[in-house]
């Protein structure tokens, strides 16, 4: 029985973290806030690469945060930048140019923190551009800050809006068990929606997600530095997945969404 516990765990599949933050927060000091620290934790957990965004870009100013992110990453190829965009105030043309110049492959929006409804009359132009550009969009189901609770994402708005952009790939991230009531039916109804599972800890929940949407729409993520990198990876290795599905969930699906693999 106890042989199932692996105190010397190392991931068997190449791991690519789909949800990590890099940089200082204004509201509290996090345990790791620079690239060297993140890379050291990735090495300890056996994670090869991470998609990273700047918390400052989410909480305060997207342009300053995104610029700081690129500075923090430098020429470290294991860290893949994700820009935070605020479609209510950011200039689409200028942002698109910055994203192209920096080789950014993914965008994150935080409507509950940036105070806008996730509706096509607000975000439609941006989603059209993302669709045409082949850039996937991350949407956190919640966002926590100690001065302000951003509240939960409106699932109805996501459903009504994302269905209008069938060529856009959207990743629902930071889904807690209190959102397990609506996340599975949302995934079922939107074939272009995937889920990142850093907070999805409800019993047998990931196995049920895999049954609902299949192995190509479930992505490993850590939610670093709020959370440790290795635990959810260990969990995924205890689900009894075959090698191909494990590789897909641990990193292959993220590679594909970011256009970094030959598996279309």
């Amino acid at each position: 029985m106890t042989s199932a516990v692996d105190l010397d765990f190392r991931p068997e599949a190449p791991a690519f973290d789909a949800n990590a933050a890099l940089g200082r927060r204004h509201d509290r000091r996090v345990a790791v806030d620079d690239a060297a620290g993140l890379l050291a934790e990735m090495d300890r957990a056996g994670v090869e690469r991470a998609l990273v965004y700047a918390p400052h870009a989410a909480a305060f100013d997207s342009a300053e945060g995104n610029a700081g992110l690129l500075e923090a990453i430098g020429d470290e190829s294991r860290l893949v930048p994700q820009f935070v965009c605020n479609p209510t105030f950011d200039d689409l043309e200028a942002t698109a140019a910055q994203i192209e110049a920096a080789g950014v492959r993914a965008v994150r929006m935080v409507p509950m923190l940036h105070h806008y409804p996730f509706r096509s009359w607000v975000v439609g132009e941006w989603l059209e551009w993302l669709s045409v550009s082949g850039i996937p969009l991350w949407l956190p189901a919640s966002y926590e800050a100690n001065w302000h609770d951003g509240g939960d994402l409106d699932p109805h708005a996501v459903h009504e809006t994302v269905r209008q952009f069938p060529d856009l790939h959207v990743v629902l991230c930071e889904v807690h068990y209190v959102q397990a009531s609506w996340a599975p039916p949302l995934l079922r109804s939107l074939p272009n929606l995937s889920i990142e599972v850093s907070r999805y800890v409800i019993v047998d929940g990931i196995a049920r997600l895999l049954e609902i949407v299949g192995p190509r729409r479930v992505l490993y993520g850590s939610r670093f530095p709020e959370q440790a990198i290795a635990p959810q990876l260990y969990h995924l290795h205890r689900l009894g997945l075959n090698e191909a599905d494990l590789r897909a969930v641990c990193g292959g699906n993220l590679e594909r969404l970011l256009g970094m693999s030959s598996d279309g």
Partner: protein, 258 residues
Amino acid sequence: MDSPVIDFHSHAGCWGRYGVDADCDLYLKVMDAAGVDRSCINCIWFGDARRGNDLVMEYVKRAPDRFIGVAFATPHYPEEAVRELERAVHGLGMAYVKIYPDYFGRPNDDPAYFPIYEWVDEQEMAVMCHATYPFDPPGTTIEGRFTALSERFPNVRWVMAHTAGAVDADAAETARTLPNVYMETCSSRTTLGATEFNVERAGEDKVLYGSDMALMDARQQIAKVVTADIPRRAKEKILGLNAIRLLRLDDPARGGAA
């Protein structure tokens, strides 16, 4: 790993709000995949404690070598509480007592619990409860709360549910300084460095692994201990050896070896 794994914090029964069923087969499947030998299981969902404890026994009877029953008592029915604990512990063989201050609407040091604690004190057993309460007044500290409880009920061993899943200096200091106070690991968060912090501050003998099954998945919850940057021996203690010692599971008079 050769030493036993004991889940100190798990629940039986349905919790439909979160899609949790009273599914013993699923429970055992997840325990097997996680490598959990035995789960300490309680049922705190009912206003009628007897109903919850009987449900626990359905799991225990189904797999007596895998489940350890944990008694539940509610202060809302003080006329029933001690009698039900007598039945659950001495009649059904349950190993310790769980209370749930958040749902009772009373913090764990409310005098309404004192008849329960007096009985547990006489039995020299453990009580597991949350360390804090959503409506604690400013200035409330965990250390102050458990110091007072420990002085009043010196034979109770207190397990502070969820505290080892967070970085909380107050909780860790409480477990370090009070010999009969312990921490437990389950949390929906996998806070970076929490296990390491609590082992360093409270000591490896004071931390117990718990999952919060069947709400949260034991395979995920155990990972925060398994993958922590702590010595192997500390992991073995947290994952089972500390629970064996706390519950005296290696005492043949209390049910034999784990």
